[in-house]
């Protein structure tokens, strides 16, 4: 298994055996993304990562790190390798999105006023 971790601390390692696609057992643990749910029914919000040898232990670590203070209803852990993402060099597909104000509800309010003005003065 090659190292496709989303965690920069692992990516930064750039180890030879990782590059060769060989994962020595127990040399590093699985990275899990942690999601925190404040109240039952609310969305789970991504809060960070943990490293753990199993999902069960990942939940323990997640509780210790991300549920120490604020109120918590539940925690989710998901293997980082199970998270599918766009390639970072494809970020340009989102580049013009902020320009598309016609997709924002506020845009139509303005649009109505422009139309009204046009009709009045035509």
């Amino acid at each position: 298994m090659s190292n496709e971790s989303l965690d920069p601390r692992i990516r930064r390692l750039d180890l030879e055996h990782v590059k060769n696609g060989v994962q020595p057992t127990n040399s590093h643990w699985i990275t899990f993304e942690v999601f925190h749910q404040e109240k039952r029914g609310r969305q789970a919000i991504h809060v960070g990562i943990v490293h753990a040898p199993s999902p069960e232990i990942a939940l323990m670590f997640a509780k210790e790190q991300y549920a120490r203070r604020k109120s918590t209803s539940n925690l989710w852990v998901v293997k980082s390798s199970e998270v599918f993402t766009f390639a970072s060099e494809d970020e340009d597909i989102f580049e013009t999105t902020p320009d598309k104000t016609f997709r924002e509800p506020g845009f139509y309010k303005v649009r109505d006023r422009i139309e009204a003005y046009k009709n009045k003065h035509s």
Binding site: N26, V50, A52, P53, S54, E56, I57, L59, M60, F61, K63, E64, Q65, R68
Partner: protein, 247 residues
């Protein structure tokens, strides 16, 4: 009844202090934090119990109870006194002790003494997590590799007999049972023995056979291991500088 509450408080205080010794030296950062947070919970339980003694039963101030008593006056069991050792020792002790704590508080939900019922309700979630944490690591290490399994098994062989010190009876136990404050140590012990046996089997480990379950008694009567006195000395070091200081 005072004896029951005092020994529970002393157990919680001493194990809380002991396990806090993992702070900064845990095998993993997260376990460092886990042991520290669970220690804080235990100290919290001790404080709540000393407060019940103080507010309901004419006992002394919780701080004085914790920091101003001689070794002989402590009624904690031997299990909580031993040094943290290596992680296998501490984990197995945590597993064996928190299972007992879980069942003790569960039984106290039926107590005739309301402050204990209220406390039992309050700490239920915390202790459930302590048990969950211990179980998860026991499962992990018992099924890790040959070395981890062997280490957990030998720690179990060592700690299991000592754990019976948790259930040492006190002189007034009969009255506590008759007043329906607590069902008694024998009932708790038999629930614990069955539960531990089941879990240990699930982990693929073995309960040590032919143990002497009375080899580690005395704590409840003030006879302690040599490990308690240095612990108390360290724990009360700051308090002893000025016992009347306002915090």
């Amino acid at each position: 009844m005072k004896n029951l509450i005092l020994k529970m408080a002393d157990d919680a205080l001493i194990i809380g202090h002991r396990n806090s010794e993992w702070t900064g030296i845990g095998p993993l950062l997260e376990e460092d934090i886990a042991f520290s947070s669970m220690s804080q919970d235990k100290i919290g339980h001790a404080w709540a119990l000393y407060r019940i003694l103080n507010e309901e039963l004419g006992g002394e101030d919780p701080d004085k109870a914790a920091f101003n008593r001689s070794v002989k006056d402590f009624t904690c069991c031997h299990l909580v006194e031993y040094p943290i050792g290596e992680f296998d020792f501490s984990l197995v002790r945590h597993f064996l002790m928190d299972k007992a704590e879980f069942h003790r508080y569960d039984l106290l939900l039926q107590s005739s003494f309301l402050p204990l019922v209220n406390l039992a309700k309050k700490v239920k979630g915390e202790i459930k997590y302590h048990v969950m944490h211990a179980d998860t690591w026991m499962q992990q290490l018992a099924n890790g590799n040959e070395e981890s399994k062997a280490r957990i098994q030998s720690a179990l062989n060592l700690v299991y007999p000592i754990a019976f010190s948790l259930f040492e009876k006190q002189d007034d136990e009969q009255a506590v049972i008759e007043q329906k404050v607590f069902v008694g140590e024998d009932v708790l012990k038999s629930i614990w023995v069955d539960d531990i046996a089941n879990r240990i089997k699930e982990f693929g480990l073995t309960i040590p056979s032919s143990i002497d379950s009375s080899a580690h008694l005395g704590g409840r009567k003030g006879y302690h291991t040599d490990h308690l006195e240095p612990l108390l000395k360290e724990m009360t070091e700051v308090f002893a500088i000025d016992p009347n200081a306002e915090w």
